[in-house]
Amino acid sequence: EAGVAQSPRYKIIEKRQSVAFWCNPISGHATLYWYQQILGQGPKLLIQFQNNGVVDDSQLPKDRFSAERLKGVDSTLKIQPAKLEDSAVYLCASSLAPGQTPRRTQYFGPGTRLLVL
């Protein structure tokens, strides 16, 4: 079974530029998550989708970050404009939907390492 796919793996941009990350979850997983992981810290949830609806985006900096999950499968996370403090690893994860077991286990992709100069 294929895991969570993410691209690109690495991205270097200058501040004020825009960048987009793509995620393809495990087939059949209705719930998709985007996390930001700053060096030396644990992952921090940015946004959670259930199919194509947003469940939780309370920690998403909405003035510069946006995310969408069209058709309830793939998702994109965008930063516009980027700031120096956005340098981090952006992780995508997916899990089964409520009612399915073991739904609370999240499976993570390899992440995108973003460096903002």
Binding site: T31, Y33, G40, Q41, G42, P43, K44, L45, Q48, V55, D56, V89, L91, A93, S95, P98, P102, R103, R104, T105, Q106, Y107, F108, G109, P110, G111, R113
Partner: protein, 114 residues
């Protein structure tokens, strides 16, 4: 706050030594799940184990074992006879039962030297 605390920032051991990684959590929920993930240098978080709050039995999987103690809100992870390939950052996490929201600890970096 419903925090997960991993007090050990970094641990170094020599191969074949046993090592225990500590995890202490806070919660107001009566039902919750606890997880351990491994993050090797490649960056991907690898799922290791999930336990629910109703099951306090310790679990062993090969060289890995977990000790869940609800009375002390701890979920410690022991690697027996450590190997160089065990070198990674290990994260403990607690999940909100109703909303499936993960609370991660800050991680413990394990260095296993040959």
């Amino acid at each position: 706050a419903q925090k997960v605390t991993q007090a050990q920032t970094e641990i170094s051991v020599v191969e074949k030594e046993d090592v225990t990684l500590d995890c202490v959590y806070e919660t107001r929920d009566t039902t919750y799940y606890l997880f351990w993930y491994k993050q090797p240098p490649s960056g991907e978080l690898v799922f290791l184990i999930r336990r629910n709050s109703f099951d306090e039995q310790n679990e062993i999987s090969g060289r890995y074992s977990w000790n869940f103690q609800k009375s002390t809100s701890s979920f410690n992870f022991t690697i027996t006879a450590s190997q160089v390939v065990d070198s990674a950052v290990y994260f403990c996490a607690r999940v909100d039962f109703n909303f499936n929201k993960f609370y991660f600890g800050s991680g413990t970096k394990l260095n296993v030297k040959p």
